[in-house]
Amino acid sequence: MLNEKPTVKSTIKGWLYLLPMLVITITFNIYPIIKSFLMSFYTKYDFYNDIVSAYGFSNFTYLWNDPDFHLAVRNTLVFVIGVVPLNIIISLAIALLLNKIKFLAGAFRTIYFLPFVTSTVAIAQVWNWIYHSDYGLLNYLLGLVGVNPINWLNDPKWAMPALIIMSIWKGLGFNIVLFLVGLNNINTRYYQAAEIDGANAWRQFTNVTLPLLSPITFLVTVNGVIGSFKVFDEIFALFQGSSGPSKSALTIVYYLYEKFYTEWKYGIAAASGVVLFFLILFVTLIQLWYSRKHVHY
């Protein structure tokens, strides 16, 4: 075939096609990746002139001893555990129902997906209003069934649940679409075979649907976990530029933002980013290892 072996000429051409992308990604992706790992070891840094006068591990020891950072890690984990499983269960249930109906299926999908395209900041203002302790819609509706008003956004106990509920609501549509793709790809012959073998609906679900859906479930889980680890916009907007009452919604990225943007402690902020990276890497590797055993491709 033509052009199979790279030549000097084809190499120059290939790199020329890559050039625009390379210039941007090297400047704003590759270089900063290296730089942020280095920065986490800067202990004396003048960022105006980009001069480093001391290196060391003290940024990491600072994080190790900072109760705020511990809180941020804990809150992030609570958020991930609160959002991901519930989101998957609800979106899978809705996808299963949608998959069984024809009439209005498109309209339902449109509605469930709508929050995904809306600005997090704008819709968080709406939720902020819905959560209002005196005039909020949610407390009114809960009042109808006899629940006492909850101070959703000012009570440290309730701030995280409020954040989790809003995040699940916003993320459902994305997972529903992916689960629908997965369900569509399951060959109906498997169900016919299961039916002949006398499997009831529940058995069909556990023995046919779940195993054949496992690659999508895996994808949705990994996506969801990574996304949830990086939560920021939702918090900033829902709690009006704070990390919630008594920092009850302080997460790792929020911590990074505060150290960097309001306290100008670049080294510590970079170190918290490095910790975030390794946490995500670690959790993703565990999921990969688990999927080797339990995902059926």
Binding site: M1, N3, P6, G14, Y17, L18, P20, M21, I24, T25, T27, F28, N29, I30, Y31, P32, S36, M39, F47, I94, L97, L104, R109, I111, Y112, F113, L114, P115, V117, T118, S119, V121, A122, Q125, V126, W127, W129, D134, Y135, Y140, W169, F174, V177, L180, V181, P215, L219, N223, K230, D233, Q240, G241, V253, F260, Y266, A269, A270, G273, F277, T284
Partner: protein, 272 residues
């Protein structure tokens, strides 16, 4: 039995859909209320007289026109620029043979593991050294390339058989011509999908614009809206009106291009 199950399905799905739609309804409803109506208990579902004036008042209460123009500029330039760099790179990765191709591809694949939030600090330093903070440059430059887009386009370009490429070359078409006159039109639906997803992403982006703009004139809509919450205080009718006009453009995009958005997301699912 079958009938009952079907009815039950519709009941559950309808209840779920009501929960999904309720915040949007509540936003619109509140945005059209008088101030006393917003705090009335039991709540007013549909205001007696629709207060369209709230929209005018909210729009004037902060430089929303300016924010809107900023958002349009940033979204357009980012999307077009990113599409251009990505199409070129995806073509090189998919159809050209050259030294270093696989190595570069693997390196970029690896960088997709890095959380973007980590890059904010060094990128801010780079841009402030270039004196670009508070300019369109800072809002746009870092987003002019996306390896995710390159990756998606390469998959689509790969599905176009190499024979098409060789046939075009034999007919005397240059690579450039082949790319823009044959390959790109053949991949129209994927390109539309990544474009729409990119438009939505840019329009709604918050953390980066928040960090690189402290000049009011450079704010994009989401950042401007966030700043407006302090001015609006407890005037929820105005705040909801402002939220509505941040949300509406993407809802319109969604309604018209839903097919492509869903296809784009479904594709990313199939690859995983």
């Amino acid at each position: 039995m079958k009938k009952a199950a079907s009815v039950l399905r519709y009941v559950i799905l309808t209840l779920g859909a009501l929960i999904m739609i309720l915040p949007f309804f509540w936003m619109l409803s509140t945005s059209l209320k008088t101030q006393p109506e917003t705090v009335q208990i039991p709540p007013v579902w549909i205001p007696k007289q629709l207060q369209w004036g709230n929209y005018v008042e909210a729009f004037k209460a902060a430089p929303f026109a300016r924010y809107f123009v900023n958002s349009v500029i940033v979204t357009t330039v980012t999307t077009v620029g990113q599409l251009f760099t990505s199409i070129l790179a995806a073509f090189a990765f998919s159809k050209l043979h050259f030294w270093g191709r696989n190595l570069v591809f693997m390196i970029f694949l690896g960088t997709m593991m890095i959380p973007g939030e980590m890059l904010i600090i060094p990128n801010f330093v780079t841009l402030s050294n270039m004196h670009l903070v508070n300019t369109y440059g800072a809002l746009i430059l870092p987003w002019l390339a996306s390896f995710f887009t390159v990756f998606t386009l390469r998959q689509t370009f790969n599905s176009v058989p190499d024979q098409t490429y060789y046939a075009a070359k034999i007919d005397g078409a240059s690579d450039w011509r082949f790319l823009w006159h044959i390959l790109v039109p053949m991949s129209k639906s994927t390109i539309t999908a990544v474009t729409v997803l990119q438009v939505i992403g840019s329009w709604n982006a918050f953390m980066w614009p928040l960090i690189v703009t402290n000049d009011e004139n450079m704010r994009t809509l989401p950042v401007g809206l966030q700043a407006f919450t302090t001015d609006a205080g407890t005037n929820y009718a105005l705040l909801m009106a402002a939220s509505t006009f941040v949300i509406i453009p993407m809802v319109i995009v969604y309604i018209f291009l839903q097919k492509y958005i869903i296809a784009g997301i479904s594709n990313s699912g199939l690859k995983g």
